[in-house]
């Protein structure tokens, strides 16, 4: 066990922070600390430009293998990158799905042609991606996909029909990867295909979902004979589930420390307010501040442990499995603490009629943290079954 980074890593850190200091200026300055969860709808065009700026600096795909245009940075360096990015207030990335999910998936499962077609555009920040898994009836039960893909031999294309939901950034993205049923008679995880779908076409309609914040980050995506070229199926027809699940394994937690830096910013803001308005003298609030700080610190230690122990080979790691549940609960509590520290002032919006303050958005938006990406209930099931070996949940009879 060894805390701290090597000198080489620290040099890398300096490189990152220097580049950010030099580039997060001018037109990009206003993006600082913006575009995160709850704020994803803001400054889209500017953030898309920032994505290209990042690309010009070579900062997209730093964890990808060199053969695919990446930098093959070590886990430590990826962590450092995310930490510095967050510390500098780097804006919410609009290219993170392409970089973090599409890219690794194509590297693992895609054809050489697919890799050549798509990876460079991700690395250059030119093409943005979104993900199309969830459907109205496939939420926690993700495998219950109803969208159907049929191959039309004559046209040589797939046509997809169905409805996707909770698709963040869909209205701003160029491509979407979509799970759809290639075998219409199949059920559950069998008979699915993993498609790369261009969004700018008549068969795709995107409707924003207004959230409880009054803003929209998520969309419904209606697919009505949406056309997908034959070579845009990743893997075999019927094997889409394996591709989709393989994709989940790519998240090795390198971004968690960066996420925590954002959390620290939020907590610090709450603490500052507490010092200003006297809440910091309230012993009950102090307990909660102590608890929040403790929770965030331990979140950091957890991540350090996961990063050190997880060889990225899909080994089950308890600390990693519990991460989602941990941070989402912590974050939700922070939202609540923010309101209670503010007291009656918590109610006053930034600007009428309904421009919420940052902390109000935090309070409301953190309520989705415990739902998306696997609800807390699903997380506990997964932990109990995979990490603790308890018996599987009985399923219904349908």
């Amino acid at each position: 066990m060894r805390l701290g980074f090597t000198q080489e890593d620290e040099r890398f850190r300096e490189q990152v922070s220097d580049w950010l200091a030099d580039n997060l200026v001018g037109e990009f300055a206003k993006l600082k600390f913006r575009g995160g969860p709850g704020d994803e709808h803001m400054f889209f065009a500017e953030r898309a430009a920032w994505e290209k700026q990042m690309a010009s600096g070579g900062w997209i795909g730093i964890g990808w293998p060199e053969a695919y245009g990446g930098k093959a940075c070590s886990l430590e360096q990826q962590v450092i990158f995310h930490e510095e990015y967050a510390r500098a207030g780097g804006p919410g990335r609009v290219g993170h799905i392409g970089e973090g999910l599409t890219g690794p998936t194509l590297i693992a499962f895609g054809s050489e042609q697919q890799q050549r077609r798509f990876l460079p555009k991700i690395l250059s920040g030119e093409e943005l991606w979104c993900q199309g898994y969830s459907e109205p009836s496939a939420g926690s039960d993700l495998a219950n996909i109803a969208s159907k893909a049929a191959f039309y031999e004559d046209e040589g294309v797939w046509k997809i029909n169905g409805q996707k939901v909770w698709t963040s950034l869909a209205h701003e993205s160029d491509w979407c990867f979509v799970l759809a049923r290639t075998d219409p008679a199949s059920k559950g995880s069998r008979g699915l295909g993993f498609f790369l779908l261009e969004l700018d076409q008549p068969g795709v309609e995107i409707r924003p979902i207004t959230q409880l914040t009054g803003t929209s980050e998520f969309n419904e995506v209606f697919l009505d004979d949406a056309v997908c070229q034959a070579d845009c199926l990743v893997g075999e027809a019927g094997q889409g589930w394996a591709v989709a699940m393989g994709l989940l394994g790519f998240e090795r937690g390198v971004s968690t420390l960066g996420q925590q830096m954002l959390f620290q910013n939020e907590l610090s803001e709450v603490i500052k307010i507490a010092k200003q308005n006297g809440a910091a003298e309230d012993p009950v609030i102090r307990q909660r501040i102590g608890d929040a700080h403790m929770g965030l610190k331990i979140m950091r230690y957890n991540s350090m442990r996961t990063l050190s122990a997880n060889p990225g080979d899909g080994t089950l790691d308890r600390a990693a499995l519990s991460y989602k549940l941990y941070w989402s609960s912590w974050h939700r509590n922070l939202g609540n603490l923010a309101m209670d520290v503010l007291g009656p002032d918590a109610e006053l919006v930034e600007q009428q009629p309904y421009d919420l303050t940052r902390l109000q958005s935090l309070f409301l938006f953190t309520r989705s943290d415990t739902i998306y990406g696997g609800t807390n209930q699903i997380q506990r099931n997964i932990i109990a079954e995979r990490a603790l070996g308890l018996p599987k949940e009985t399923r219904g009879k349908d």
Binding site: T210, G278, M339, D340, P344, A346, E347, Q352, Q377, G396
Partner: protein, 385 residues
């Protein structure tokens, strides 16, 4: 001892529920909340003229129905359940209660009549802003006037419920020289008001500014050594009314969630068949039931208090218990509802977030739960030798 509704009370509950089901449905709530006004004038007209709800606990001698606080809380519960957007709370729970507690006063009597007969809208202004609660939050000052018979009053008031649509104000201020509390009636002409938009849109707040306002002696509601106690009891009564609303919120979150999880299917089963969901629903029910007990006990105590009975001495305790428990129960249930609805609960389209925001706002009104628990602890620690 009979701690259940009588026939009349059951009838009031059913009638109010039926009325609000048609007069305060989701579309109507959303229409009202999105305006600065914050309520539908026709609804106000109906509740004050046709239904005359504001007469509920006004004594018959003052032209009221002479019913009790229990009956009033039944109305507040239903209004909470239906998220009714209305200045009824500010007018009745805050202002009318203030007036009733100083009822010997002529000024109060005519104000009561204005509410009773014309359905005039009143607001209570006291807090100078910030985290302090009740008496401690009052920063406005008054001093005796040299030039006329009365006082001169200056202050900035925050979080004034429905202040921007009230036609009269009851304002609290402290004597600039000796700190003694006074309660005054001030018409809207003498104040500056501005709507302050809020996260919970179903209840509107305003900021009220008063600069050197002349308050003639005839507008002094209370200004002696009893005023402090009166003011505290107004807030106690308001806490109970707010708790009743939150009972409605807690109960509605439960029943809507139970309906939703009974319908919604995942993994080939209604999600409500999963134990995790069932146990959460059970916890919600337990809180709603306990909230119901807390509210109606406190309402009975309020009646004892208003009737000058010995059990009325429990008012502070019962109010703090009801306020702390019900607000936490409503917030817990609304949070659970959001979680159990899954993604759709997070959308503007579904009503869950309206309850959630209302519950959070209620928690932060009249002192949060930690404040009230500390208040309870103080009472208990004094009682037990």
């Amino acid at each position: 001892m009979d701690f259940s509704f009588n026939e009349d009370q059951l009838l009031i509950a059913d009638t109010a529920d039926a009325f609000l089901t048609s007069a305060s449905n989701s579309a109507q709530v959303r229409a009202a909340m999105s305006t600065e006004l914050g309520y539908e004038p026709a609804l106000w007209q109906q509740t004050t003229q046709e239904l005359a709800w504001q007469l509920t606990h006004i004594p018959e001698s003052e032209g009221g129905l002479g019913l009790g606080y229990v009956e009033l809380c039944i109305l507040f519960e239903k209004m909470g359940k239906h998220l009714c957007c209305s200045p009824f709370f500010s007018t009745v729970a805050l202002s009318l209660n203030s007036l009733l507690l100083v009822a010997a006063n002529d000024c109060a009597k005519s104000a009561i009549a204005a509410i009773a007969e014309q359905g005039e809208r009143f607001a209570l202004a006291y807090s100078g802003g910030g985290r302090l609660v009740g008496l401690d939050s009052i920063t406005a000052l008054y001093h005796d006037s040299d030039s006329y018979n009365g006082v001169c009053l200056t202050g900035d008031y925050h979080y004034v419920i429905d202040g921007h649509t009230a036609s009269s104000f009851i304002v609290a201020a402290k004597n600039a020289s000796n700190g003694q509390l006074g309660l005054f009636l001030v018409p809207k002409e003498k104040v500056d008001v501005a709507w302050t938009a809020t996260m919970d849109q179903t209840r509107k707040l305003a900021r009220v500014s008063i600069r050197e306002a002349e308050v003639p002696a005839s507008n002094i509601l209370s200004c002696d050594s009893t005023t402090k106690g009166t003011f505290e009891n107004v807030l106690n009564l308001a806490c109970i009314a707010l708790a009743a609303e939150q009972l409605g919120v807690a109960e509605q979150c439960l029943s809507q969630t139970v309906d939703y999880i009974s319908e919604r299917k995942q993994f080939g089963r209604a999600v409500g068949s999963f134990q995790a969901m069932k146990h959460k629903a059970a916890d919600m029910m337990n809180r709603a039931e306990a909230a119901r007990s807390a509210v109606y006990y406190a309402a009975c105590i309020a009646d004892e208090f208003l009737g000058g009975q010995p059990l009325g001495a429990e008012l502070s305790e019962a109010a703090s218990i009801a306020k702390a428990y019900c607000c936490d129960a409503a917030f817990f249930n609304a949070g659970m509802a959001l979680q159990m609805y899954g993604g759709v609960g997070f959308t503007w389209e579904y009503d869950v977030h309206l309850y959630f925001k209302r519950a959070k706002a209620a928690q932060l009104t009249f002192g949060d739960s930690a404040y009230h628990r500390e208040r309870i602890a103080q009472l208990v620690l004094e009682q037990i030798a």
